[in-house]
C-alpha cells in the first residue's frame, strides 16, 4: 500500500497547526491532501477515522480541538506505520580490547572519573588505585576518545596509560574521533595516533595533510606526523611548494627536521635570503647547512674573548637557533660562557625530548666531556635513561660537585603504580609538555639511595651545604613516602640513619618527618635531644622553625616538657647574638608549646 498521501496529510496538519486554524476553510493545500487521502481511507478503518476528522475541520466553528485530535491520531498512525528493518551493509566489530574489561563500576564512580577526563583535571597525573582499576571500563575509554579534541598535558599523560592498556587497538577509535566538520578542531587525536603507531598510519596522515577541506590544526598535526618517515620528503616538499600560511610553515619545519638533500637545498635558499623571521625554520632544521649557519651566527655575535657584543642577540635566542642540531657542539660550547647552566641544559633536553635519538645523546656526552661544569644536568638526565643503575658513578666527581642540582633531578624520579616502575619526570629539568615521564626501572637503584644519603659534603659555602643537605633530606622523605613497597625496607634504613645524622647538621622539617613517620621501633632515648638540635641549628642559620614533630615521638609528656623547658634556657642564651625577631619568634613557639601542655 502506498501511504505517501497519509504522510502528506500529516505534514499539512502540522502546517495548519503552525499557521493557525482560524482560516482552515481556505487552506486549499490541506483540502487537496484530504482529498488525495480518501482512497487510503476507504481501505483502512483507522485511516477512515482520520479522514472523517479532517473533513470535520472545514465545517467546525472552532476547529482547534478537531485539529489537535487529527494530529494526535495521525501521529499514532505514523508510529504504527513506522518501519524498522535496517538493510545497511554491516561488518562485525573489530574492537578487541583488554581481557576482563571492567564492567561493574557504579555510575557515581564512573561519572565522576569521566568528568575529570572531560575537564582534563590535574588529577589525571595522580590516579588513585581505584581510578587506575577503572581504566579498562569501556565508558572510560569512550570518555577519553571524546576528550581527544582537547589540548592538555594532563590528558597527554593520561593518554600514555590508555596507550599502555589498549596499544594500537586505539588507532581506529582515535581516527574516528577526528572531527573533520569543525574547522577549529584540534589535531590532538592525530598526534595520539602518531604517538601510538609511529609511521604505520602514514597513508592516513598523508591523506589528511593533503586534504584541503580538513581543519587546519588537523592538517598541521598530520604534516608533523609525516616527519617520522623519511619517505615522505617528496610529499612534504610538495606541500611546502603548494600550500600557504601555517600549513606551509609546518610542511617546511617537518621537512627540514629530516636530514636529507632536499631539506638542505630548501634551507640553503632560505639562508641565502635570510631574514630574522626565518629563525623558527632554522631552529627546526637538523642538517649541516642550518648547523653551520646557526653556529656562524653565534660566532659573529661574540667578541674574540667569547662575550656577546653589544649588537648581538640574547644568548637564549642563539640557543634556540641551535635546537635540534646534533652536531652543533661548537655553538653550545661557545655559549656555555654566556648562559646559566640550567638554561643551556634545558635547551639541550628540549631537543632530546623531541627526538630521543642516539645522535642527540651522543652530542650531550661530547659536550659533558668537554665542559662538565656546564652540561652536568643534561648528562645526568641522559645517563639515568641509558644506565639508571650506574648513572651516579658515571658522573664521576661531578656528582658530588653538583649534588644539589642532581638531587633536583632525582626528585623527579617517582614510583608510578600504574606502570609498576620508577619514572623520570621531564619537569624535573623544567621541561613541560606532552608525555612528561620516561620509564626507568622497577627497582630503585642502590647507587641513587647511597647518593641521596651520602653524609659527605665537601662544600665550603655553609649556606650551600645546608641547602644541599636539606634537599637530600627532602629527596629521602619523598622516596620513602612514594617508593615501590618492595624497596621500602632497603631505603628506610639508610634514610633514617641519614636523618639522625642531619639532626646535628641542619634544621629541616623533612628530617623530623623522616624520624617521626618512618622510625617506628626506636627507644625513647633515640628521640631525646632531636628537637633541641633542630631548633638550635635553625637559630645558627638565622631561622626560627616552629617546634613540631615532638608530639609524634614516643616520649612521655614529662620527657617532652623537660626537653622543651631545657631548650628554652638554651635559646635564651642566644639573646643579643641573633636578630631580635628571630629570637622572639622562637621563644613564642616554645612558650606556645609549653602552654598547650
Amino acid at each position: 500500500m502506498n501511504v505517501t498521501p497519509f504522510y502528506e496529510l500529516r505534514s499539512r496538519l502540522y502546517a495548519c497547526a503552525a499557521a493557525g486554524c482560524q482560516t482552515v476553510s481556505e487552506d486549499f493545500r490541506l483540502k487537496k491532501a484530504v482529498d488525495e487521502f480518501k482512497p487510503l481511507a476507504e481501505l483502512n478503518k483507522a485511516f477512515g477515522k482520520l479522514s472523517a476528522l479532517c473533513q470535520s475541520l472545514f465545517t467546525a466553528e472552532n476547529p482547534s480541538r478537531q485539529l489537535a485530535d487529527a494530529i494526535a491520531l495521525a501521529d499514532a498512525l505514523a508510529v504504527t506505520q513506522g518501519t524498522f528493518a535496517d538493510n545497511s551493509e554491516v561488518i562485525p566489530s573489530e574492537v578487541s580490547t583488554v581481557s576482563g574489561q571492567m564492567i561493574n563500576a557504579p555510575y557515581s564512580v564512573i561519572s565522576e572519573f569521566c568528568e575529570k577526563i572531560f575537564k582534563c583535571s590535574p588529577n589525571l597525573y595522580e590516579l588513585s588505585e581505584d581510578e587506575t582499576a577503572l581504566l579498562s571500563d569501556p565508558r572510560v575509554l569512550m570518555a577519553f576518545i571524546k576528550a581527544c579534541g582537547k589540548n592538555s598535558t594532563y590528558l597527554d599523560y593520561f593518554s600514555e596509560m590508555m596507550f599502555e592498556i589498549y596499544g594500537d587497538r586505539l588507532v581506529p577509535l582515535l581516527k574516528n574521533a577526528v572531527d573533520m566538520s569543525d574547522p577549529k578542531a584540534s589535531g590532538t587525536a592525530v598526534e595520539y595516533v602518531s604517538a601510538v603507531s609511529g609511521s604505520a598510519e602514514n597513508a592516513w596522515f598523508l591523506s589528511l595533510a593533503r586534504d584541503e577541506n580538513a581543519p587546519q590544526n588537523v592538517r598541521i598535526a598530520a604534516i608533523s606526523a609525516l616527519g617520522k618517515d623519511s619517505k615522505n620528503v617528496p610529499y612534504l616538499l610538495e606541500l611546502y611548494n603548494t600550500e600557504k600560511g601555517k600549513v606551509k610553515n609546518q610542511a617546511l619545519d617537518t621537512l627540514v627536521s629530516i636530514d636529507c638533500p632536499e631539506a638542505e637545498e630548501v634551507i640553503a635558499k632560505l639562508i641565502a635570503k635570510y631574514k630574522p623571521s626565518c629563525d623558527s625554520h632554522i631552529s627546526a632544521a637538523c642538517g649541516k647547512t642550518a648547523t653551520d649557519f646557526a653556529v656562524g651566527l653565534v660566532k659573529s655575535g661574540l667578541t674574540p674573548s667569547g662575550y656577546l657584543t653589544n649588537e648581538s642577540r640574547r644568548a637564549d635566542e642563539y640557543l634556540s637557533l641551535l635546537s635540534n642540531k646534533p652536531y652543533a657542539d661548537e655553538g653550545f660550547l661557545l655559549l656555555a660562557k654566556q648562559q646559566e647552566p640550567e638554561i643551556i641544559n634545558q635547551f639541550l633536553l628540549i631537543s632530546l625530548r623531541r627526538k630521543n635519538t642516539e645522535e642527540y645523546r651522543a652530542l650531550i656526552h661530547r659536550l659533558f666531556e668537554k665542559a662538565p661544569q656546564v652540561f652536568y644536568t643534561a648528562e645526568f638526565f641522559v645517563l639515568l635513561t641509558e644506565d639508571t643503575e650506574n648513572a651516579v658513578a658515571r658522573m664521576g666527581k661531578n656528582a658530588e660537585e653538583h649534588r644539589l642540582e642532581l638531587l633536583n633531578v632525582i626528585n623527579g624520579i617517582n614510583y608510578d603504580k600504574f606502570y609498576g616502575e620508577y619514572c623520570l619526570d621531564w619537569r624535573a629539568a623544567r621541561i613541560y609538555g606532552r608525555y612528561p615521564v620516561v620509564r626507568l626501572t622497577d627497582s630503585y637503584p642502590q647507587q641513587l639511595i647511597d647518593f641521596i644519603c651520602d653524609r659527605r659534603c665537601t662544600l665550603s659555602d655553609n649556606r650551600l651545604r645546608n641547602r644541599t643537605f636539606s634537599s637530600a633530606a627532602e629527596a629521602a622523605l619523598m622516596l620513602l613516602n612514594s617508593c615501590n613497597p618492595e624497596d621500602y625496607e632497603r631505603i628506610k634504613v639508610p634514610a633514617v640513619n641519614f636523618a639522625f645524622f642531619l639532626c646535628s647538621e641542619i634544621s629541616s622539617s623533612y628530617v623530623l618527618e623522616i624520624i617521626s613517620q618512618h622510625f617506628k621501633d626506636g627507644k625513647s632515648s633515640d628521640y631525646r635531644g632531636i628537637i633541641t638540635k633542630f631548633v638550635l641549628n635553625g637559630l645558627k642559620n638565622g631561622s626560627s622553625m616552629p617546634v613540631r614533630g615532638i608530639d609524634n615521638f614516643p616520649l612521655s609528656e614529662s620527657e617532652k616538657v623537660e626537653e622543651i623547658t631545657a631548650l628554652m634556657n638554651k635559646v635564651a642564651a642566644f639573646k643579643g647574638q641573633i636578630a631580635d625577631f628571630v629570637y622572639d619568634h622562637q621563644m613564642r613557639y616554645i612558650k606556645d608549646y609549653l602552654n598547650r601542655k
Partner: protein
C-alpha cells in the same frame, strides 16, 4: 543485631546522602575532627565528640544494635546521615583507636523507644490493618477544582491552535507563563509542566526558527490537548459515578495525585516475593521540573518484565535527598509495588534482600527476552502511539550480533533474519559510542536493553542501546 564490624567503605558510601557528604566525612576523619572516640563493650555502638563550627562539640553516634544502622548527631545539619556520622565511621574504618565506654544514657533511652515502636508495629501487623479512611468529600472538592483548571488549560491550547503555533511571540509567552502559574492553584502539576515546556519551546523557536523545533512544539500542544481532554473525561466520570478515590489509571498521577503504597496494595498493584535485577542506572536532568532524576531500569527475573525506578531530586533540595547509585545484586522483595502505567511501570519497595548475582542469573535473564524483533517492535509501537505515554519504550531484545554499518558506522542489531538500527537518544547520548568501543566478544549472542523510539522525520523505529546482557553479566553503556 549487627556490630560495628559490619562497617565497610561500601556501607558508608551507600548510607551517605550524596558523594559530597561522603567526601566531607572523609575530610573530617583525615583531619582528626573527632576529639574523642568511643565504642561500646558489645561493639554495637561507636560514638564521639566532633569539633564543629558551634561552641560545643557535636555528639555523634552510629548505632548498629538494630536491623539497620541508626545515626544520631547533635549538629544542625539537615542531611541525614550528616558528615559527622560518616566521619566517625571512616575513623573506625581507618583503624583509629576507640576507647571502650558504657553506652550513654540518652542513647539507651532512644533505643528503648525504638524497640517499643517496633514492637507496636509487629502487633499492629498481627491485627488486620485497616486501610486509612479516605476523605471522599475532600477528594470530590479537589476534582471539581481540577476540572476548573482544565478548562483554563483547554482555552490555552485552543488559543494556540487557533492563532497558530509559530506565531507565539515573546509577549504572548509572558502571558502564557502567568496562565501556567495559575494551574498550580488547581492541583494540576503535570498539565502545568507540559504548559511550561510548551512556553520554553516557543521561546526557543522565536529566538531561532527551526522546523524540527516547530514539530516538537506542535507535538507538545497535542499532548497537552489530549491530557486535558482525557483528564476532563476522567473527572466527569468520577464525579458522575461518585467513585472519587484513586484507581489503576495513569491520569491520577498526571493530575498531581500521589500514590501511597497502601493504596497501590489495596487496588492490587503489587507482587509478592519478586526477584528483580537492575539493568541500568543513570541520572537524568529534568529542566522543566528543575530536578535530577536517578533513573534505573529493572528486569523481573520471573517474568522478564522491564520496570523502572525514579528518584526525583529537586535541585533546590538535592543536597538533602539521598542520591541513588548503580546496584548489582539480585533483589528479593517481599512486596513489590507497581504504579499504574504501560509497558515500563514504575516500581517501588520498602525492603529488599540483596544477594550477589550468580552467573546463572544472567542466563535466566537471557531466557526472558522478547521472542523476535517484530514482536518487540509491535509492543513498543503499542506503547509509543499513546499520546500520553513516554517517548521511549524499553524492552530486552535478543541479538545474534551487533554489527556496524560500513557507510557511517552506526550499530545494527541482528536477530534471525531481522535487523534494526541502533541510535542514541537524549537520555543516553553516548551509548552507541560506548557500544562501538566494547570488545567484540560481547556483541554476539546476547540481549540488549534498549529504548525503542519513533523518528517522525525518518518514519522509522530505532533503538537506543542502554545495557548489554551476556551470559556472564550486564554491561552498562552509561
Amino acid at each position: 543485631m549487627s556490630t560495628v564490624n559490619s562497617i565497610t567503605a561500601e556501607l558508608i558510601s551507600s548510607a551517605a546522602p550524596n558523594a559530597a557528604a561522603a567526601q566531607n566525612g572523609q575530610k573530617i576523619s583525615r583531619s582528626g575532627g573527632f576529639q574523642s572516640l568511643f565504642i561500646s563493650e558489645d561493639k554495637t555502638l561507636i560514638f564521639g565528640d566532633c569539633k564543629g563550627s558551634g561552641s560545643k562539640p557535636y555528639r555523634t553516634s552510629a548505632d548498629f544494635s538494630g536491623d539497620a544502622p541508626v545515626f544520631r548527631c547533635s549538629c544542625p545539619s539537615r542531611q541525614f546521615p550528616c558528615k559527622h556520622c560518616l566521619g566517625i565511621m571512616y575513623d573506625w574504618l581507618a583503624g583509629k583507636s576507640f576507647g571502650i565506654a558504657p553506652i550513654p544514657a540518652d542513647i539507651l533511652e532512644k533505643r528503648e523507644k525504638l524497640a517499643k515502636r517496633a514492637e507496636k508495629g509487629v502487633s499492629d501487623e498481627a491485627t488486620v490493618k485497616k486501610p486509612p479512611k479516605q476523605n471522599k468529600a475532600a477528594a470530590e472538592k479537589k476534582l471539581k477544582k481540577q476540572a476548573e483548571g482544565l478548562e483554563l488549560a483547554e482555552k490555552f491550547v485552543n488559543d494556540l491552535f487557533s492563532r497558530g503555533i509559530s506565531s507565539v511571540s515573546s509577549a504572548a509567552a509572558e502571558q502564557y507563563k502567568n496562565l501556567a502559574k495559575q494551574l498550580g492553584d488547581y492541583y494540576l502539576p503535570e498539565p502545568q509542566a507540559i504548559m511550561n515546556e510548551i512556553i520554553t519551546a516557543a521561546e526557543r523557536l522565536t529566538a531561532s526558527p527551526d522546523d524540527r523545533e516547530l514539530a516538537r512544539l506542535t507535538g507538545l500542544c497535542v499532548k497537552l490537548s489530549s491530557a486535558v481532554r482525557k483528564s476532563k473525561a476522567y473527572i466527569a466520570e468520577k464525579l458522575e459515578s461518585g467513585e472519587v478515590l484513586p484507581e489503576d489509571n495513569i491520569l491520577y498521577e498526571e493530575m498531581g495525585g500521589v500514590w501511597k503504597l497502601t493504596q497501590l496494595k489495596e487496588i492490587g498493584l503489587f507482587k509478592e516475593n519478586a526477584r528483580i535485577i537492575q539493568l541500568s542506572f543513570t541520572v537524568l536532568h529534568d529542566n522543566i521540573h528543575k530536578a535530577d532524576i536517578d533513573f534505573a531500569y529493572w528486569a523481573d527475573l520471573d517474568t522478564g518484565e522491564i520496570s523502572k525506578t525514579e528518584n526525583i531530586r529537586p535541585l533546590k533540595a538535592a543536597k538533602y535527598i539521598k542520591a541513588e547509585n548503580s546496584v548489582f545484586g539480585v533483589h528479593r522483595i517481599k512486596e513489590l509495588y507497581r504504579y499504574p502505567g504501560g509497558l515500563n511501570r514504575r516500581i517501588r519497595w520498602e525492603a529488599a534482600d540483596i544477594s550477589e548475582a550468580e552467573v546463572g542469573v544472567y542466563a535466566e535473564l537471557l531466557s526472558k527476552t522478547e521472542k523476535s524483533l517484530s514482536d518487540a517492535v509491535k509492543r513498543a509501537k503499542n506503547e509509543l502511539k499513546n499520546t500520553l505515554s513516554d517517548e521511549n519504550a524499553a524492552l530486552l531484545v535478543p541479538y545474534d550480533s551487533i554489527e556496524f554499518a560500513v557507510s557511517d558506522g552506526h550499530p545494527v542489531l541482528k536477530f534471525g533474519e531481522e535487523t534494526i538500527a541502533l541510535r542514541p537518544n537524549e537520555s543516553y547520548p553516548d551509548s552507541c559510542k560506548v557500544l562501538s568501543v566494547l570488545d567484540g566478544q560481547y556483541l554476539k549472542n546476547g540481549a540488549l536493553l534498549g529504548e525503542f523510539f519513533y523518528s517522525s522525520e525518518e518514519r522509522r523505529i530505532f533503538v537506543c542501546p542502554v545495557s548489554v546482557v551476556t551470559k556472564d553479566g550486564i554491561i552498562r553503556l552509561c
